[in-house]
C-alpha cells in the first residue's frame, strides 16, 4: 500500500462522506499539491488528537495532581494530593523509600520556575539539583520539567548526566539466532565502540546460545563490553549467574498500579529482583517510558510525563542504579501527540535528576520519516547521555528482533557523520574495512570452535564464510535452526558457564580471547560496575558516577573528547584529502596531451607567445593548468581526453577545426575561455576545466560574459559535450544556435562533489604560474 492509499483511506469521515470538501479540486480529490504532500513518508505515521481521557497527552493533563507533600512525625501522610490511606502500591513504595524527607520541604516549596532555572543554570552544580530532586514528589518533578524548552532540556541534560563520558548501546540479534552471525555482528558492534551489547531471541529456547555467541563475539571486537540477553526474568537471571551475561535492563516498571499488576509484578517484587541481580554481581537497570500505560488503556487520565515521573521515582526508591526510558516500546505513542518528543527527552532528564543512569531510549523506530526520527534522536546526541540509545540497532532493521530501532545498521555511517558534523562524542568510531572483515572472521571462527569443542554444533567452512560476509541473516542461505535450539538446550542442561567457554577457547588455541573474557569476569567481582552509570572502558577501567563524575559547569568545563578521540570522530572513512585525489587522478593518467609547442597569447597580460590562428573556422579549446598533468578525470567520470574528443568531434561535424591549448597562468574558466577565443582564428573559444566545467567564449566579450556554460560538471554527458562543440562551431560560422540546456537533477550535487572540487582546484592552482605562457597540446588519440 502506498502512502497515498493509506492517507486517502484515513481522511476524516466528514470529507469522505459528503460532497466535495472546500479544499478539494474538481473531481472530489485534493489538488495535486496536496496529493503530492500526502505521498510523503511522514504521512504513514499516525498522529493523535491529544485526549486526556485516554492519557494521550504528553506534558500535562488536567487530571494530573497538584504537587504536594505532607510529613507527620517523619512519615509521609499525603503525597501529590493523595492521603496515606488511599496510597496505591506505587505511592506507598515511593512515599516510604523514595523521598528524602530532610530536603522535601525545601524542594516542594521551591517555585517550579525557580527549580527549572536552577536545573538549567550552569552555575548551579549537578549535586545541588540531585539533592533537591531527592526531596521532590513525582508531580513536582513533572511540573518542573514541563517548563523546560528544548534547548534548555539539552543544556540540563549536558549538566545532569551522571557519567562524564557519554556512551552507547547496541542491539545484536538476527531472525535465525544464527550463532556465527551473532558472533560476527557482536564483534562488529564492539569494534564500532558500543560498550553494551543487548541481544534477544525470536525463539525463547535459543537464549543461552545467543548469550554465548555474543559473549565470544564482543570479546573479539573489544575488551570490556557488557552483554545482555533480554528474555524472561528467571532465564535472564540464570544466564547472568553463569557469567554468560553481565547486565540486565528489561525489568519493567509502569506508572499505574493496574498496569503494574497486569505486568505481573509489584514494586516489592521488582525491588527484590533488583537485589537478586546485584546479589549475583550483575549490573541492572529498570525499564519504563511513556505510552505503555496508554497502550494498556490504564493511564487513568494522567499525562505521560506524570506517569513516567512515578516510574522514575519508584526506580530510585527500589534502589536500581539506572533507568532505560524515553518511550521505549511506546515511543511512537508519545510521538503521536503534541510535544511528544519533548516528553521523551524529559523522561531521560528526570532519571538524571534522580541521580540515576540514563539509557536514553531511541531504540524503537518512531517514524517512517527519516527527518522525524532524526529530529527525535539528535538533541540527545548533542547533549550527551550515559547511553544515547538503549539499543542502536547495529544490525539491519529486518534482523532487529526487538523491532527496528530508531537507528540501525542502515544508519551507522549517518551517525558517524553526525558525530563529526557537530564535533560530539556519540560513542561510536569508524572501523577500517579490512579490520571489520578480520574481526568478523575471527569471531565466527572462535564461535565455531567453541560450539564444536563443547559438542554444541558443527558448522561448515561455508557457513563461517557466509557469516563473515553477511550484511544480514538473509545472506546466510538455509541454516539449521533446529541445531540452534539443540545447542541452546545443551548449554542450559549442561550447566555451561563462562568458565567452560573460556576453557574451550583456550583448548582450541584462542588463548588471548579466553584471557580477555576471564579478566573481565574477574574485574566484575570487584563490584565497581554496580555503581551508577558504570561501564568498562577498553582498559577495563570502570567509568561511573563514582569514578568519572560529570563536572559540567558551563563552557570550558565537562566532557570534551580528548585529541585522540576527536581525531577518531573526525576521521570517517569517506573523508578525502588532496593527496587522495591526486593518487586517484593518477590512475586515469594516459600518455596523451603531450606538449607540442608554445602557442599563442597567454590568458594574462604578461603572457606572450605565437600569433593567433588565421583560419576563420578554427576554434581553440582552452584547458586548465593541471590538465594532462595531475588532472585526468572529470567529475562526470569521463576522462579529459574523452571530453576533448567529443568537443573536437562536435566542431568537425559543423565543419570547423579545433586545437587544444593549455593556459598555464589562470584557473579561472572565464579567462581560459576568453584567452582561447582570442587565440582562435574564428574568435570563438571553448574553455574546459579539468573537472569538466565548460563554456563557449568570444574574443570581444568580458571574461564573465560567456555565450554558453555547462556549470553542473558532474551531470554532463558525452552527447552534451559534442553538442557544445557543435554550438561553438555554429558561433564560429556566425550563427545563433539554440543554447544547450544545463542538465539538472534533484540530488545533493554540491554535497557530493564540493570536496572533490576543492581538491581538484588545489591541483589546478598548484600548476598555475603568473605569466606562464600557454602550450599547444597534441591531438593524438583525441580523434
Amino acid at each position: 500500500m502506498t502512502a497515498e492509499d493509506i492517507k486517502a483511506g484515513g481522511r476524516p469521515a466528514s470529507e469522505a462522506a459528503g460532497g466535495r470538501p472546500a479544499g478539494a479540486a474538481a473531481g472530489g480529490r485534493p489538488v495535486g499539491r496536496v496529493r503530492f504532500m500526502d505521498a510523503q513518508r511522514v504521512n504513514l505515521d499516525g498522529f493523535a488528537v491529544a485526549d486526556a481521557e485516554l492519557g494521550l497527552v504528553a506534558m500535562r493533563s488536567p487530571y494530573d495532581p497538584e504537587p504536594g507533600l505532607v510529613i507527620r512525625d517523619g512519615r509521609v501522610t499525603e503525597m501529590d494530593g493523595v492521603p496515606e490511606e488511599r496510597f496505591d502500591s506505587l505511592d506507598a513504595y515511593i512515599a516510604r523509600h523514595g523521598i528524602d524527607l530532610t530536603v522535601a520541604e525545601e524542594a516542594m516549596s521551591l517555585p517550579d520556575v525557580e527549580f527549572a532555572r536552577r536545573l538549567v543554570s550552569p552555575d548551579v552544580p549537578r549535586s545541588e539539583i540531585v539533592r533537591l530532586s531527592a526531596g521532590a514528589t513525582p508531580a513536582k518533578l513533572a511540573r518542573v520539567l514541563a517548563l523546560l524548552r528544548p534547548p534548555e532540556l539539552c543544556q540540563a541534560m549536558t549538566k545532569m548526566r551522571a557519567r562524564r563520558t557519554p556512551s552507547n548501546q547496541a542491539h545484536v540479534t538476527n531472525r535465525l539466532d544464527d550463532p556465527l552471525l551473532l558472533a560476527a555482528d557482536s564483534a562488529t558492534a564492539a569494534a564500532f565502540g558500543f560498550r553494551e551489547v543487548e541481544t534477544t531471541v525470536p525463539v525463547l529456547a535459543d537464549a543461552p546460545s545467543n548469550a554465548v555467541a555474543c559473549l565470544i563475539g564482543a570479546a573479539v571486537g573489544a575488551q570490556g563490553v557488557l552483554i545482555q540477553c533480554s528474555v524472561e526474568e528467571a532465564l535472564e537471571l540464570e544466564l547472568g549467574m553463569r557469567g554468560l551475561t553481565s547486565y540486565a535492563e528489561t525489568i519493567s516498571l509502569y506508572g499505574t498500579e493496574q498496569v503494574f499488576t497486569d505486568g505481573d509484578d509489584t514494586p516489592w517484587s521488582k525491588a527484590f529482583l533488583t537485589s537478586a541481580y546485584a546479589s549475583r554481581g550483575m549490573k541492572m537497570r529498570v525499564s519504563s517510558g511513556a505510552g505503555a500505560e496508554v497502550l494498556m488503556a490504564g493511564a487513568e487520565r494522567k499525562s505521560m510525563l506524570f506517569l513516567e515521573s512515578r516510574c522514575v521515582a519508584l526506580a530510585r526508591a527500589i534502589g536500581a542504579q539506572g533507568v532505560q526510558n524515553g518511550g521505549i516500546d511506546g515511543a511512537s505513542v508519545a510521538a503521536s501527540v503534541p510535544s511528544g518528543l519533548r516528553e521523551l527527552m524529559s523522561e531521560n532528564l528526570m532519571v538524571m535528576m534522580r541521580n540515576l543512569e540514563s539509557c536514553s531510549g531511541n531504540d524503537a523506530l518512531m517514524s517512517e520519516s527519516d527527518m522525524r526520527r532524526t529530529s527525535r534522536t539528535l538533541p540527545i546526541v548533542l547533549a550527551g547521555s550515559d547511553f544515547m540509545f538503549s539499543g542502536f540497532g547495529s544490525i539491519q532493521r529486518y534482523d532487529n528482533m526487538f523491532g527496528p530501532s530508531n537507528f540501525n545498521a542502515e544508519d551507522i555511517d549517518d551517525f558517524l557523520a553526525m558525530q563529526r558534523d557537530w564535533g560530539v562524542d556519540g560513542g561510536l568510531r569508524t572501523v577500517p574495512e579490512d579490520r571489520i572483515a578480520e574481526l568478523r572472521r575471527e569471531a565466527a571462527q572462535l564461535c565455531r570452535a567453541v560450539y564444536q569443542h563443547l559438542g554444541l554444533d558443527d558448522f561448515t567452512d561455508e557457513h563461517v564464510e557466509r557469516a563473515v560476509d553477511a550484511a544480514g541473516s538473509k545472506d546466510l542461505g538455509e541454516t539449521d535452526t533446529l541445531a540452534v535450539v539443540a545447542a541452546a538446550q545443551a548449554i542450559r542442561d549442561g550447566g555451561i558457564t563462562v568458565v567452560d567457554v573460556v576453557a574451550a577457547l583456550d583448548e582450541t588455541g584462542y588463548e588471548s580471547v579466553a584471557e580477555r573474557i576471564l579478566v573481565m569476569t574477574a574485574a566484575r567481582l570487584a563490584g565497581d560496575y554496580l555503581q551508577t552509570s558504570a561501564i568498562f572502558d577498553e582498559q577495563l577501567r570502570v567509568l561511573s558516577l563514582v569514578t568519572d563524575p560529570n563536572d559540567y559547569a558551563g563552557p570550558g568545563t565537562g566532557f570534551e573528547p580528548g585529541p585522540e578521540r576527536q581525531a577518531e570522530i573526525d576521521a570517517i572513512r569517506q573523508a578525502r584529502g588532496v593527496e587522495d585525489l591526486r593518487a586517484e587522478q593518477a590512475t586515469s593518467a594516459v600518455p596523451l596531451l603531450a606538449v607540442v609547442g608554445p602557442s599563442g597569447k597567454g590568458a594574462g597580460p604578461a603572457a606572450s607567445g605565437a600569433a593567433p590562428g588565421q583560419d576563420p573556422r578554427e576554434v581553440i579549446i582552452g584547458v586548465s593548468p593541471a590538465v594532462g598533468r595531475d588532472v585526468w578525470r572529470c567529475l562526470s567520470g569521463l576522462t579529459v581526453p574523452e571530453v576533448l574528443a567529443e568537443l573536437l568531434a562536435g566542431l568537425e561535424e559543423e565543419g570547423c577545426t579545433g586545437r587544444v591549448v593549455r593556459f598555464n597562468d589562470t584557473v579561472d574558466l572565464g579567462r581560459i575561455g576568453l584567452a582561447a577565443a582570442r587565440l582562435a582564428g574564428s574568435g570563438i573559444g571553448i574553455g574546459l576545466q579539468g573537472k569538466g566545467t565548460a563554456l563557449i567564449h568570444r574574443r570581444d566579450l568580458a571574461p564573465l560574459a560567456n555565450l554558453e556554460l555547462y556549470s553542473v560538471a558532474p551531470a554532463v554527458t558525452p552527447e552534451l559535450y559534442r553538442l557544445l562543440g557543435a554550438n561553438a562551431a555554429r558561433h564560429a560560422k556566425g550563427g545563433t544556435p539554440d543554447p544547450v540546456r544545463n542538465p539538472y537533477n534533484d540530488e545533493a550535487i554540491e554535497a557530493r562533489y564540493h570536496t572533490t572540487v576543492i581538491a581538484l582546484m588545489a591541483l589546478e592552482r598548484a600548476w598555475a604560474k603568473p605569466g606562464a605562457p600557454p602550450e599547444e597540446l597534441s591531438l593524438e588519440g583525441l580523434r
Binding site: 496505591d88 502500591s89 506507598a92 513504595y93 516510604r96 523509600h97 523514595g98 539533592r131 526474568e233 528467571a234 537471571l237 549467574m241 553463569r242 557469567g243 498500579e257 499488576t261 505481573d264 509484578d265 509489584t266 516489592w268 517484587s269 525491588a271 527484590f272 533488583t274 537485589s275 537478586a276 541481580y277 546485584a278 546479589s279 549475583r280 554481581g281 530510585r316 526508591a317 527500589i318 534502589g319 536500581a320 542504579q321 541521580n355 540515576l356 558457564t497 563462562v498 568458565v499 573460556v502 576453557a503 583456550d506 588463548e511 579466553a514 584471557e515 576471564l518 569476569t521 574477574a522 566484575r524 567481582l525 570487584a526 563490584g527 565497581d528 554496580l530 555503581q531 551508577t532 563514582v546
Partner: protein, 120 residues
C-alpha cells in the same frame, strides 16, 4: 585498596587461565562476595544514593541463598501468589536466618498487599 575475593573466598588474582586449565574454577569463584557488596553500598551512600546502598545490602544478604530460593521468593512477591500469612511467615523465616533487610521488604509487602488486594 581492599583485596577482592569471590564468594568462594578465592582472591580474584587467582582467577587465572592456569587455574581454569587445572579445573579449579567453579561457579562460586565467579560469584560476588557479600563484603564487596557492602563496600559498594558504602560508596553508593557517599554518592547520594541511599536507596542503591540499601539494594546492595539486601543483595549482600541474598548471596547466602541459592538461586532456586531467590527465584522462589521473587515468585512469592508477585501479585496474587502468596497469602498475607504466607508472606509474613516468609519474612519471619528470612529474619531468623539473618536476612533482616530482605525480611523487612517482604513484611512491608505483606502489609501493603493486604490493603491493596495484591495477595492471594
Amino acid at each position: 585498596m581492599t583485596e577482592v575475593k569471590a564468594l568462594s573466598g578465592r582472591p580474584v588474582e587467582e582467577l587465572t587461565l592456569e587455574a581454569v586449565r587445572q579445573g579449579e574454577i567453579g561457579l562460586e569463584d565467579l560469584r560476588i562476595h557479600p563484603e564487596t557488596l557492602e563496600r559498594q553500598a558504602t560508596i553508593a551512600e557517599q554518592h547520594g544514593n541511599p536507596q542503591l546502598a540499601e539494594n546492595l545490602r539486601r543483595a549482600a544478604e541474598l548471596t547466602r541463598l541459592g538461586d532456586d530460593e531467590v527465584l522462589a521468593i521473587y515468585a512469592a512477591l508477585r501479585p496474587g501468589r502468596a497469602t498475607p500469612t504466607e508472606l509474613t511467615a516468609l519474612a519471619e523465616s528470612l529474619s531468623e536466618r539473618g536476612l533482616s533487610r530482605c525480611a523487612a521488604l517482604v513484611a512491608e509487602a505483606a502489609e501493603v498487599y493486604a490493603r491493596r488486594g495484591l495477595s492471594a
